[in-house]
């Protein structure tokens, strides 16, 4: 499935396509709250854990054999840069959860290195989110979250956890790394939900 964001496909992109308070960059800035975890593909594993503790896991070979999408999406960082038309390859969260039995309403994404972020489950479904492992036609670089990162382009990019290790399905909401330190629980760039008081 290809995802073409609004405005993509010939029309020149301009500031009207930017969420409030954002500026456009053509770079891909690296923001990081810590050292880059180095995860060998032979030891890499992705897990989905339900609220009852049931685990589904994929090795790298199993994960990259799943049906993949190639979304082209705009991304928006809470530090105010936005980047238009980024191209990715990854597995949709719908695919990862297709055979998972859950009553959960919330998800905590866990990263290698200890980072966490929380997202309502409905914000990850229906083609809104992927676990991406290629950027611009090349393997995702470690500084950008490789081997694989969450990609949730409709939320500020801190929700797109780098170095994804697990998706924990929960009945209750559990604020993550930045959400417990002053950032907004939801992080919708179009509503400019940057900080907890927004």
């Amino acid at each position: 499935m290809a995802v073409i964001t609004r405005g993509f496909g010939g029309r020149r992109r301009d500031d009207a396509d930017l969420p409030p308070g954002q500026y456009r960059t053509d770079d891909f800035p690296v923001l990081s709250a810590g050292p880059t975890p180095r995860i060998g593909l032979d030891e890499w594993e992705l897990a989905v854990v339900t609220e009852t503790g049931e685990r589904s896991t994929w090795s790298w070979a199993e994960f990259t054999a799943l049906p993949a999408d190639e979304p082209t999406v705009d991304i928006h960082c809470v530090t105010r840069w936005s980047k238009f038309g980024t191209s990715w390859r990854g597995v949709s969260v719908d695919t990862l959860l297709a055979d998972v039995d859950t009553a959960a309403e919330y998800v905590v994404a866990h990263s290698y290195g200890g980072y966490t972020t929380n997202i309502p489950l409905e914000g990850l479904l229906d083609g809104q989110a992927w676990v991406a492992y290629e950027f611009d036609g090349a393997p995702l670089a470690p500084v950008h979250g490789g081997p694989a990162r969450l990609l949730v382009p409709h939320l500020y990019f801190w929700k797109s956890a780098k170095w994804l290790r697990a998706l924990e399905l929960r009945l209750d909401d559990e604020p993550g790394f930045w959400e417990t330190a002053g950032y907004h629980n939801d992080g919708d760039p179009w509503r400019e939900q940057r900080y907890l008081e927004d």
Binding site: S32, W178, T180, G182, R194
Partner: protein, 97 residues
């Protein structure tokens, strides 16, 4: 002299002196001379010795020994939040009376 890994093939960090300005503004005192006991490895070090990742949505200070987070500092539109859950003790020198 400040230490840093800027230029290395890794996310840049600077030393804890980078916290002097933001913390001083909030607290009204120089906390870089404070000592923090890391909740991860329990080593006690000056805040200035911590590694601060400043190219992020906030300032994140990590223990140079075990890399656990010892302090997070976030400026919102009208507040400053200092999260110290990664530090067991914050020891601050005071004038001898």
């Amino acid at each position: 002299m400040p230490t840093t890994n800027v230029g290395a093939d890794d996310p840049p960090w600077v030393d804890g002196n980078a916290l002097a300005g933001p913390l001083g503004e909030i607290m009204g005192t120089d906390l870089t001379v404070a000592e923090l006991t890391c909740a991860g490895c329990r080593m006690t070090r000056p805040l200035a010795a911590m590694r601060v990742f400043d190219r992020a949505p906030g300032l994140v200070a990590r223990c140079p020994g075990c890399e656990d987070v010892v302090m997070r500092l976030v400026r919102t539109a009208d507040r400053a939040l200092v999260d110290l859950r990664g530090s067991l003790v914050v020891s601050i020198p005071v004038p001898i009376t």
